[in-house]
Each structure stands twice: as structure tokens, then as C-alpha cells.
């Protein structure tokens, strides 16, 4: 992708039919977008469609979901930055956290602690989830990726797909295939409180606040601490980092651990939002978070966070805003179509993502 991008800058190519086709796609996408929005606006004026309150809910739900995607996307981006491949098993790292967290939650429910002290219970679940996901990520690195260090990028990529299935079916085998529902949260979690003129459900508020705090924490960790500096050095030039006396293997373990911890936080947020977890829970959010990472520019941490929130918004608002304008029924079920169409469009309009890719020295050369 980089090679062709650089090539396009270097040589003046005669425009061919592919370019013509891409322009048709670009124009077509814009027409569909404008048409759909116009249709929705017309409906709105006519008094049909969702109310203003419902629109605001869609935005808030989108941001909450997006915060979760962003947290998972960070793991994809960090590993890509340091090792240069997409770790497709990362979705399962997220699932592992949510899954093991469920057993803690269930136990707390059994001893009636969940109801008496919900906040502390969720904190315990959160810690379990973080530790589980970080541990799974580190083990996967140690067992599956480290022996492949130095082999072509495609090989760990394919391995990661294998690991992804391995983890899914290991969890299915251990805990069964049924969906496990977290115990119900207390009623006040469904209350709405007014912030900045918005009426936000407490659950969504918690998800957004925790997600934002984790992202800020990660950003500070990577930019301001010693280990973060090592991670950036290893991402830029492994050989040079080793010559500076940085233990590259340990730094890579730290990268996986931190990325896994973010996925673990996302696992608990998922439980707060949707309650149900199963062995397959990691798949779609994993792919969505990967989409978010590409949307923001893979390897770029700010991009991963922003990409996550944007994708959540596209998903939350997009169906109502664009698709409903065509009079399509049941649009909210088409959110995946909107999310992945957004990805395709970003790749056509701006292939390096909205915030640009971050490449290591080897990739730049």
C-alpha cells in the first residue's frame, strides 16, 4: 500500500479505467449520503422519524460503543506499531476478559455482594478482566508470536487467525457455548442524568467516562513514562533500541500486556452495556475495532481512539441518518453495513486512515 502510494507520487500515471471507477464510487457515495440525509430531513420536517430526544440517545449510545471499540483498537494499533502485523486474536483477548469477569460477577451475585455493593463488585470484575486479558495477550505473544520473530509478516498474521479460533473454541470447550448473562445491575444504572443539556443513562455515562480515562491513561503512559518511551523506541527501530540497551523482548511483552489490559477494560464495559458474553463475543467487536484502527490510521494511537469513537458514531447515528431517508425499514439492524461501508469509503478517500499511519524505520525504507 505504501509502495504504490509512493509510486503514485513519483511517476505521473495516465489515468485508467480504475481511476474512473473510483471516481464513480466517490461520487456515488456522496450522492447516496446526501440523498439519504435529505430524505431523513424531509421526514423529520414532516414530523415522522425519531424525535430530538431519540437522536441524542443515538449519539450517546454511539459514543459509548465507540469508546469500547477505541479501547480494543488500541491493542491492534500498539501491536502493529511494534511488530508490524495485525494480531487478529486480539478480539479473543477482549472476550477472555469479559468471560472470566462473568464468573467473578456471578460469584459476587451468589454471595449477594453484587446487590449490596455494586460499585466495588464492578471494580473487582474490572480488575479480573484486565488481568485475564493481559495474561492471555502475554501468553499468546510468548507461545505463538515470539518463535516467529524475524519471519515474514504474513506468517504471524496467519498464526493470529489460528490463535483466534483456538481461543474461541478453548473457551467454548471450557465454559460451554451458551450465552452467559451478567447479573442485572441495580435500577439506578438505568436512570438518566442531565449533563451538558443531554439526558444520559448512567450506564452509558460510566462507559464513556471509564473509556476516556483509560485512553488518557494509556496516552500518558506511552508518552510520558520510561516504559512508554521504550515501546516507542522499539516501534521505531528495534535494532537501534537494542543497541540503546533496551530489552526488546520485554518491551514487546509490555506492549501486549498494556494492549491486553485495554481490551480487558473493554470487556467489562461490554458487560455493562450488553450483559451477555459467549465464546463468540470477541469476533464482531474485534473486527470492528480493527476497522476503527484502520479508520484512524493503524499504528497511530490517537487515531485508534478517535477511529473507535467515530466508528461508534457512524454505527449509532448512520443508519437512522442515511438509510432511513430511503424508507428502509428496521435500519438499526443495518449498523454493521454502515460501519464497514464507512471503512471502505475511508480506504478509498484516504487510504492511510484519518490520522495517518505510523510506520517503523524498516517499513519506511
Amino acid at each position: 500500500m505504501t509502495a504504490s502510494a509512493a509510486g503514485a507520487g513519483r511517476y505521473k500515471r495516465r489515468p485508467g479505467w480504475v481511476d474512473a471507477f473510483l471516481w464513480i464510487v466517490r461520487i456515488g457515495a456522496l450522492v447516496v449520503l446526501v440523498w439519504g440525509v435529505a430524505g431523513t430531513v424531509v421526514q423529520g420536517i414532516a414530523g415522522e422519524g425519531p424525535t430530538g430526544e431519540a437522536w441524542r440517545d443515538l449519539v450517546v449510545a454511539g459514543i459509548a460503543q465507540g469508546a469500547m471499540y477505541g479501547l480494543i483498537a488500541l491493542g491492534y494499533s500498539m501491536v502493529y506499531g511494534v511488530l508490524g502485523f495485525i494480531n487478529f486474536a486480539h478480539g479473543e483477548v477482549f472476550m477472555a476478559g469479559g468471560m472470566v469477569g462473568f464468573f467473578v460477577a456471578n460469584y459476587l451475585w451468589d454471595i449477594r455482594f453484587w446487590e449490596t455493593d455494586f460499585v466495588l463488585s464492578v471494580l473487582l470484575v474490572l480488575v479480573t478482566s484486565i488481568l485475564t486479558s493481559a495474561l492471555v495477550a502475554v501468553i499468546v505473544e510468548r507461545v505463538a508470536y515470539r518463535p516467529l520473530r524475524g519471519s515474514p509478516r504474513l506468517i504471524p498474521l496467519i498464526t493470529s487467525i489460528g490463535i483466534s479460533f483456538f481461543l474461541q473454541y478453548t473457551f467454548a470447550g471450557l465454559f460451554g457455548v451458551a450465552v452467559k448473562n451478567y447479573p442485572p445491575p441495580p435500577d439506578y444504572m438505568r436512570n438518566r442524568i442531565g449533563i451538558l443539556g443531554l439526558q444520559i443513562e448512567v450506564t452509558k455515562l460510566v462507559v464513556i467516562v471509564v473509556g476516556a480515562a483509560a485512553m488518557i491513561g494509556l496516552y500518558l503512559f506511552v508518552e510520558k513514562t520510561r516504559t512508554g518511551r521504550s515501546i516507542r523506541a522499539v516501534a521505531e527501530d528495534k535494532e537501534m533500541a537494542a543497541l540503546m540497551g533496551i530489552d526488546v523482548d520485554r518491551t514487546i511483552v509490555a506492549t501486549f500486556a498494556v494492549g491486553g489490559a485495554m481490551a480487558g477494560i473493554a470487556g467489562t464495559l461490554w458487560a455493562l452495556l450488553f450483559r451477555g458474553v459467549s465464546f463468540i463475543t470477541g469476533f464482531l467487536p474485534g473486527i470492528k475495532a480493527f476497522t476503527a484502527a484502520v479508520l484512524g490510521g493503524v499504528g497511530n494511537l490517537t487515531g485508534a481512539m478517535a477511529g473507535g469513537v467515530l466508528l461508534g458514531l457512524f454505527e449509532g447515528v448512520g443508519p437512522q441518518l442515511v438509510l432511513a431517508g430511503f424508507g428502509i425499514p428496521g435500519v438499526s439492524q443495518l449498523k454493521d453495513v454502515v460501519a464497514f461501508t464507512a471503512l471502505v469509503l475511508v480506504l478509498i478517500f484516504k487510504p492511510t486512515g484519518l490520522f495517518g499511519e505510523r510506520l517503523s524505520a524498516e517499513d519506511r525504507a
Binding site: F221, T225, T227, S230, R232, M244, G245, A257
Partner: protein, 261 residues
């Protein structure tokens, strides 16, 4: 006892013998130049000594202990630092961060201390930042002030070379290996850096080995010159001796016409 002692060092890549049995010693406080035509094995020599490549045979003794086969990071910790012919900085990191990251081999705070921000780790961070500023001030006004927070890739070519030396200094080495430090610099910058190489030894106390093509620089800085050709040391001695050595002249210029053996 020599600080660095190399015995019968061999390294080949496929069929090419980059190093075909090199012996060299460097005493503490010396500035030794390694010269030779392109492809003579000079950079391979640095790569093997710093642990980027494993030697095929031979031994490398640093302060009496063998370092052959150690990881690059361990060799750095032992006290050898280097720069590269084609400057290799961390381009997206700032000038100050480039020098701070080089001190990681001398500090101890791990990931948990980093997350918890213990007082120990905060003190250590403050110390390495202070030291980074100090090291950068070695180059006068060129890398200080507003430049601290600029990304390394925004620096001029000559400044990138200086930053690379600063970064090598920050690992607190005893031995500094400089690979063509003045390559691509203009005459004024070259003269300035020549003075700096001497200061690295005289004021900072580093022992220096420098690979250089610029014979003026070699003449001005070297206590001793070693000449490599086709992976073998063909001459060694003071600049005047080496520069008039027939074999050295032949290696650089080829045999005079009609002087066939």
C-alpha cells in the same frame, strides 16, 4: 591490558568474507582510526563488535572479558556505544527523548514503577532528563533550547549526526565507535567535528574508534591507524607510516601499471 582486544575475527555472508581474521587492540584513552576502501569490512567490524552480527570465529575481549556472542543490549551495558554511517535516530521522538531513551540501559525502573510513578522513578526520570540536557550542551548551542522538543527528523543532516553522537554518549560507554562521523558534512562542519572527536577523548574520557574516509580527519585525530582491505588488516601504525605504506596505497589506488607480479 588493552581495553578492546580482537583476535582472529571472522565473519562471512554467504560466500563473501567480510572479516577474514582481524586482530586489533585498542588501549584506554586512545583514538584509533579504521580505514580502508569501500567493502573492506570496516562497518562489518563494528557490527560484530556491537553484537548486531555474531562472529563466525575469533574472540572479542572488552576489558579482559569476552563479549563475543552477547546480545547487543548487553554489550551496550558493558560499555560500548556506536553511531551509524547512515544516521539511525528515532525520527518521531524528540531530540531530548532520543538522548533519554539511550540511558535506559543505566536505569532500573520497570513497568510497574512506571505506571505507579513511584518517587524513585520520578527522581530517576528527572535525573536522566537533566543528564540529557547536559550531554546535548556538549555540542554548544546547536542542540539546545527549543530544539529539545523538536522531533529528530526535523533536524538538519549535520545536527542529526551530532544527535547520534549525543545519544551514544548517553549510554555512558567507555568505548565509542563512530562510523564515518563527518560523511556528508561541509568543510566547516568537518573541522568542528574533528575538534569534538578530540574533546570526546580529552574532556569526556572516552576511548574512541573511528571509521573514516576523510584523510584530513584521520590525520588530525588518530593516535593510531589500522587499515582493512578485503577483511584483513593490511597495515597498522601512526598516520605517517600508514599513509606511505605501499600496500595501503595499492589497496586504495590499485597496482601501478606495468608493476605486475
Amino acid at each position: 591490558m588493552a581495553m578492546l582486544e580482537i583476535r582472529g575475527l571472522r565473519k562471512s555472508f554467504g560466500g563473501v568474507q567480510a572479516l577474514a581474521g582481524v586482530d586489533l587492540h585498542v588501549d584506554e584513552g586512545e583514538i584509533v582510526s579504521v580505514i580502508g576502501p569501500n567493502g573492506a569490512g570496516k562497518t562489518s567490524f563494528f557490527n560484530v563488535v556491537t553484537g548486531l552480527f555474531l562472529p563466525d570465529r575469533g574472540d572479542i575481549l572488552f576489558e579482559g572479558k569476552s563479549i563475543a556472542g552477547l546480545e547487543a543490549s548487553e554489550i551496550t551495558k558493558a560499555g560500548i556505544a556506536r553511531t551509524f554511517q547512515n544516521v539511525r535516530l528515532f525520527p518521531d521522538m524528540t531530540v531530548l527523548e532520543n538522548v533519554m531513551v539511550a540511558q535506559h540501559c543505566r536505569t532500573r525502573s520497570g513497568i510497574f514503577r512506571a505506571i505507579l510513578r513511584t518517587p524513585f522513578m520520578r527522581r530517576e526520570e528527572a535525573e536522566i532528563e537533566e543528564r540529557a540536557r547536559e550531554i546535548l550542551s556538549f555540542f554548544g548551542s546547536r542542540l539546545v533550547g527549543y530544539r529539545f522538543d523538536q522531533p529528530a527528523m526535523s533536524l538538519s543532516y549535520a545536527n542529526r549526526r551530532r544527535l547520534e553522537i549525543a545519544r551514544a554518549m548517553a549510554t555512558r560507554p567507555k568505548l565509542l565507535l563512530l562510523d564515518e562521523p563527518v560523511a556528508g558534512m561541509n568543510p566547516r562542519e568537518t573541522a568542528e567535528l574533528t575538534g569534538l572527536i578530540r574533546k570526546l577523548r580529552d574532556e569526556q574520557g572516552f576511548t574512541v574508534v573511528v571509521i573514516e574516509h576523510d584523510m584530513g580527519v584521520v590525520r588530525d585525530v588518530s593516535d593510531r591507524v589500522a587499515v582493512l582491505d578485503h577483511g584483513v588488516k593490511i597495515a597498522e601504525g601512526a598516520y605517517e607510516e600508514v599513509s606511505t605504506n605501499a600496500e595501503v596505497i595499492e589497496a586504495y589506488l590499485g597496482r601501478p601499471a606495468g608493476a605486475g607480479r
